[in-house]
């Protein structure tokens, strides 16, 4: 794809892109009309519930469902025995995660499910299912899981990258970098060596997982669910149930938050199987406890860092060894942690090693820039400590080492135009940087990087007979994409924003679409939208040429209308989109533009965050006083939404840094599966979060768009930790910075 060649100049004047029109989903959401996962019903619908393992690790010796099946009002009971084998290893793991096979691998692992006439009957039925468990030793800590002799979850899953003799819980090893670490460290005036630890956190979307499945006896099925990717749901469920993809139609509901956690399936294959067995529609809705026990938390980690720095602040070498446990199955995001750890810097000598480890915890799911915030916490803390040790300005040190256009990234590629330096310089000039601090207060900064992605995308832009436009796309709107797509379509067509409505199609309406993840949608779906609009414009110019009886090359599209152009075009008044649409039937039929692409050219993005905190020396409690986000958006299509992404990422990062953690007991069960004990930030925990949008255009997008959703959670863990270290006078290396930990650190000062 040579999309770059099609791009417009980044200096173009936009009429709609960059403005702040009202959101198209706002009224539905403030009036309660919007329909989320749990809001759909069907005639004859049954209630589906899941029975979950109370053990962290246990062999399932037998499951007797006969008493549950005999209960009046129970229409189906499902166990793993109802599902066939799945060939693909990752999909087989997904099935095993949705319904345990030989072993229950974590507290909360699904072992059976029922469909019944009511919630009360379904609950009673769960109690009648008799599961005989043989409890096994368990392990939930990443370092303990890697140790020889640790309880083993799976035999034979270790790949060829892992040296012989390691625990079978170590699944794979990855490595990135270039240069000679030892030679680089030898040139340093100081080499800092530290170990950092982070605990698992949950995405914490307020809407629990929910779906409504209906499968007919002919194998045709419909599924409604809250997901970040209904095409992924279709393909995964089809593979697990042995269905043809075209027979399963999935519709995405309005989504009540996802942050990466709704990029896989949990209930959906089970609901389809229950519906198949019961011959009735089945609705399943998780409780908050189920969400926390059995859906995607992040990895937890332990990371060793060695960084060498000269006394004037030049990094001579950077090394990190990252160990991430991703729960009970292979696939922690350690590779992305290892790739992104040093990505903001131009380094001669850099190496990262990542270890993917399994433990008796729920299978991790993506969480906003998966893997990167953890890695950035370690590296950005170490750089901060070195800078402070030399008495250097931490922003200056980062500027001195900052990656720029042409820098060979630590993970391989060479950067095109990037915005890290711009975020650092803007941060340095911002009044926040020089504002006075009081006693027990500190200031921290950190940088962050995210790749941003493209991927398979389809868009259909339909011109209606009255000249309004329906844009059909296949990515659930999680951060305002209906607004930004409508804006880009209107911009390209030269018509008002409110003439375009963007709808999210079901899986039957478009070809394959990648999940709403990787900050890909504004970039990739935007790119496809612009190209679809261009295709529609070409067709409308052809129609005008036909009416006028001139060559179609002699017609151009300007300000929402076809116009004759060039010496031999003749004199005709412009034909507007509405006029062309009204006579489309007589000039060749309906008009639509569509575009299908595996979008390449996503632009990486960088951010610098600055945060002031105050530490209470009596209790160890940390208060966040002031927070400023500086991030490169490429081009902010709808700045309100961009600022919202910056603020939301910062708020989640503050929670990760200060409050949130998965706490496991000695028995391997989760001790805090509720919002009371798993505490996400509330309004009084946070200050106003100031935002500065920078626009360094992405050369790979027609309007210069980069993704913005994920980079914003990468710096806050380190920025907060650096700030707390500044305020308390003691370096903190173990997240979260909960009051007891901070107090202990202050007292040992």
């Amino acid at each position: 794809m040579a999309l770059g060649s099609k791009r417009d100049t980044s200096k173009r004047d936009f009429k709609i892109v960059g403005t702040r029109p009202l959101r198209p989903d706002g009224i539905d959401k403030v009036t309660g009309r919007a329909r989320y996962g749990a809001d759909m019903s069907a005639p004859g619908m049954l209630v589906g519930l899941v029975l979950r393992s109370p053990h962290a690790h246990a062999r399932i010796k037998s499951i007797d469902t006969s008493r549950a099946e005999a209960l009046t009002g129970v229409h189906a009971v499902v166990t793993r025995a109802d599902f066939g084998d799945v060939e693909d290893a990752a999909t087989a793991d997904t099935l095993d995660n949705c319904m345990a096979g030989a072993k229950a691998l974590y507290d909360g692992h699904a072992v059976a499910a029922v469909a019944a006439a009511s919630d009360a009957v379904a609950k009673q039925a769960l109690k009648l299912i008799e599961v005989e468990y043989e409890p096994l030793p368990h392990v939930t800590d990443v370092d303990e899981a890697m140790a020889p002799g640790a309880p083993v979850l799976h035999e034979g899953r270790t790949d060829e990258t892992v040296p012989q003799g390691m625990s079978a819980n170590v699944i794979s090893r990855c490595q990135f970098g270039h240069g000679d670490i030892e030679a680089g460290l030898a040139k340093a005036d100081r080499v800092l060596k530290r170990t950092y630890r982070t605990e698992a956190t949950h995405q914490g979307y307020i809407e629990p997982h929910a779906c409504l499945a209906s499968m007919g006896p002919d194998g045709q099925a419909d599924l409604w669910c809250c997901t970040q990717g209904h095409y992924m749901v279709r393909n995964t469920c089809a593979a697990i149930l042995g269905l043809e993809q075209g027979k399963l139609r999935v519709t995405a509901s309005e989504i009540g938050g996802g942050f990466g956690g709704k990029t896989t399936v949990f209930l959906e294959p089970v609901a389809l199987m229950l519906s198949k067995k019961a011959g009735r529609p089945v609705k399943m809705v998780m409780t908050r406890s189920e969400v926390l026990r059995a859906t995607g938390p992040t990895a937890s980690s332990s990371i060793d860092v060695r960084i060498g720095m000269t006394k004037d602040g030049r990094i001579t070498a950077g090394f990190a060894e990252l160990r991430y446990q991703g729960g009970a199955y292979p696939g922690s995001p350690v590779n992305m942690g290892a790739m992104s750890a040093f990505a903001p810097y131009d380094l001669e000598n850099v190496r990262t090693i990542g270890w993917d480890v399994v433990t008796n915890r729920p299978r991790q799911a993506a969480y906003r820039a998966p893997g990167a915030p953890i890695a950035a916490f370690a590296v950005e803390s170490a750089i901060d400590e070195l800078a402070k040790g030399f008495g250097l300005d931490p922003l200056e040190v980062r500027l001195k080492n900052a990656a720029r256009e042409g820098t060979r990234a630590s993970y391989g590629p060479t950067y095109r135009a990037i915005g890290l330096e711009a975020t650092l310089r803007t941060a340095k000039d911002h009044p926040h940087w020089t504002a006075p601090l009081g006693p027990n207060q500190g200031r921290g900064v950190a940088c962050g990087f995210w790749f941003n992605f493209g991927g398979d995308t389809c868009v259909s832009l339909n011109i209606t007979p009255d000249g309004t436009v329906t844009l059909t796309e296949g990515n659930p709107d999680i951060g305002g994409s209906r607004a930004s797509m409508s804006m880009m379509a209107a911009e390209e067509l030269g018509i008002p924003y409110d003439k375009v409505r963007t709808v999210i199609a079901d899986t039957g309406s478009l070809g394959q679409n990648e999940v709403t993840d990787g900050s890909r949608v504004t970039f990739a779906v935007g790119l496809a939208t612009i190209e679809a609009a261009r295709a529609a414009k070409r067709e409308m110019c052809r129609r005008a040429a036909k009416v006028w009886g001139i060559d179609e090359e002699a017609v151009v599209w300007e300000d929402g209308a076809a116009k004759p152009s060039g010496p031999n075009a003749g004199e005709f008044p412009p034909m507007t989109l509405e006029e062309i649409a009204a006579i489309a039937s007589n000039t060749g039929g309906p008009i639509a533009g569509h575009f299908e692409v595996n979008a390449e050219g996503a632009g990486v993005s960088f951010a610098t965050h600055m945060v002031d905190t105050e530490v209470d020396p009596e209790t160890g409690a940390v208060r966040v006083l002031r927070y400023t986000v500086f991030q490169d958006a490429g081009k902010a299509v709808h700045p309100d939404y961009v600022e919202g992404q910056f603020q939301g990422g910062a708020a989640q990062g503050i929670g990760w840094a200060l409050n949130e953690e998965y706490i496991y007991g000695e028995d391997g069960t989760l001790q805090n599966p509720g919002f009371l004990d798993y505490r996400i930030p509330v309004a009084s925990d946070l200050p106003m979060i100031d935002t500065v949008i920078l626009e360094i255009p992405n050369p790979g997008h027609p309007y210069g768009v980069r993704g913005v959703g994920e980079t914003s959670i990468v710096p806050p863990l380190a920025a907060v930790a650096n700030s707390v270290s500044d305020a308390s006078g003691v370096r903190l290396t173990d997240l979260p910075l909960s009051p007891p930990k901070v107090l202990a650190a202050i007292q040992s000062r």
């Binding site: 009036t31 914490g204 307020i206």
Partner: protein, 162 residues
Amino acid sequence: MSTPVPISLVVNGEAHDLVVPPRKLLSDVLREDLNLTGTHVGCEHGVCGACTILIDGRPARACLTYAVQLEGHELTTIEAVAEGDTLSPLQQALHEEHGLQCGFCTAGIVMTFEAYLRENPAPSEAEVRDVLSGNLCRCTGYQNIVTAVLKAAEAMRGGRGA
């Protein structure tokens, strides 16, 4: 299982005669028996505030209340806040100020502040943050919600704004 009992519930000014199990939560009765799905359930233990409704004009968690307790009380849900096509000043401000992203927590926040702004028509930012701390939002960092509530308060006092 206990036997369902007949109850009469007044919701959004309309009387409903229902037969519900005594232990059925108000949130489930509203959503399942009355199809008022604008009241969302996020945690079932009174922490997230997404299910907040008004009982006799005061905010309450529908997930911590049994429907059978509410015979003789007036209930108001998100569906009755706008008057026809006219949004309340608070709804309008949330819409205009980008005071929501996914919108799942929004109904609970609207119900909390419809009541609070009647009680305190001129709150400070700190007071808004304090009251808002009973409602969890994971998307926004709360900033635009605070801004929207302050703007709505001003509009309701007759100032400019929404």
